[in-house]
Symmetry: C2
Subunit: 239 residues, 2 copies
């Protein structure tokens, strides 16, 4: 069996626990007896998670684009694990927008995604390596099917390709120390990342900021078809 | 024949022309009659290139990690092409260090490479798209064999994986407008990027900044073997 034995006292740190996969995983591992340390972006997310989990689950507020917020969370994990090291790190925090034709993007639209999905994931991981090595723990990085294929404009695919490369290198670099590294490549699931409302609102924002020349070169029909396309894609996602 | 006909008046903008591939390409395209606009990082690089090329080759100083430097270069290209648009953009500028086990890295070591090889390349490309669309031009991005495999720690592989994903998306997004997008995936060639001296000096810098615990967990022998490995890798590169 692939089940982990002797869960008591094993600490797992999960990022992005406000909703979606991270939230579900935090609840599930808490029920199974792990000591879950759940990083949430918002106080609201933290409160709601604490309200429906055991007393052993702890939360910490974490914005992965802010180095001092990361340092604070790492210090919290250090104190919670109290010399035992970290059994598991699940890098789940991520965002999907902006997602649109490359032509509609500015460089900051790429930074917005890469700072969370790639640089944030790397910084958290680097700073938790000493605790992971101590416990001969494991890292699970949430990549995506879009870490293998590149089919929507913007930083999302790039960030996930980067996660795949980083994870593969980390896996080899950590093997000697007994730290395992895995990736998960979800397809299309209904989470906050695939919210039709968020994707459509962001498409509209990008469309409105285009120069008249670029907007005309695509045309209104293209824009409306994009909205229809997003709805179609999202409706195809599974729960 | 795959040769381009009627080269006269065709403008090609190449980044990273101080040395290596960019320098060789600028000279070769100049000899063939293209109007080359060669972006150099340094005044020295620019002077040396101008000294051995025709009067039609122009240089511009460009640091791809600096948005205002990019804006300046884009304005220069706009004026040089004078309403004709840009026939070709070759995104060649890049760096390879720091390159070492993940454990030896800090987050800034990743930023150092990604800012040049990925974000710089994207920002240049986005800002030149209007001129490229005007001329139904082409983009050639210098990726790497390490854009397909991930085998050295640090940001290099990640940056090249990102270039592969970005290029593939851009290729599809630009097809309608007649702009072609290609990548080049060099193996190991002797250029500034594979300078044994630079790679070794940087390994030493990283080694010296490790905590005593991490340094001991690798051991002096590992470090010396890394230096030998770098020499071996570089000696295997071709001219």
């Amino acid at each position: 069996s692939l089940n982990v034995k002797d869960l008591n006292g094993k600490h797992v740190f999960i990022t992005g626990c406000d909703s979606g996969f991270g939230n579900l995983l935090a609840k599930q591992l808490d029920r199974r007896g792990f000591h879950v340390i759940a990083a949430c972006l918002t106080e609201k997310g933290s409160r709601e998670l604490l309200a429906c989990t055991s007393l052993s689950l702890k939360t910490v507020i974490l914005n992965v684009t802010d180095s001092s917020s990361i340092d604070n969370a790492v210090e919290f994990v250090k104190q919670e694990t109290d010399g035992e090291g970290l059994f598991g790190l699940v890098n789940n925090a991520g965002r999907a927008t902006p997602m649109a034709p490359t032509d509609w993007m500015q460089i900051d639209d790429f930074h917005t995604i890469l700072d969370v999905n790639l640089m944030g994931l790397i910084e958290i991981t680097l700073k938790l390596l000493p605790l992971l090595k101590k416990a001969k723990g494991r890292v699970v990085n949430v990549a995506s099917v879009m870490g293998r294929l590149a089919f929507v404009g913007g930083g999302y695919c790039l960030s996930k390709w980067g996660v795949e490369a980083f994870s593969d290198i980390l896996r080899r670099d950590m093997q000697h120390f007994g730290v395992k590294v895995s990736i998960i490549e979800p397809g299309c699931f209904k989470t906050g990342v695939t919210s039709s409302e968020v994707l459509e609102r962001d498409l509209l924002r990008l469309w409105n900021q285009l120069t008249p020349e670029v907007r005309e070169s695509y045309g209104d029909k293209y824009f409306y078809n994009s909205l229809v396309g997003v709805k179609g894609l999202v409706s195809w996602c599974t729960y």
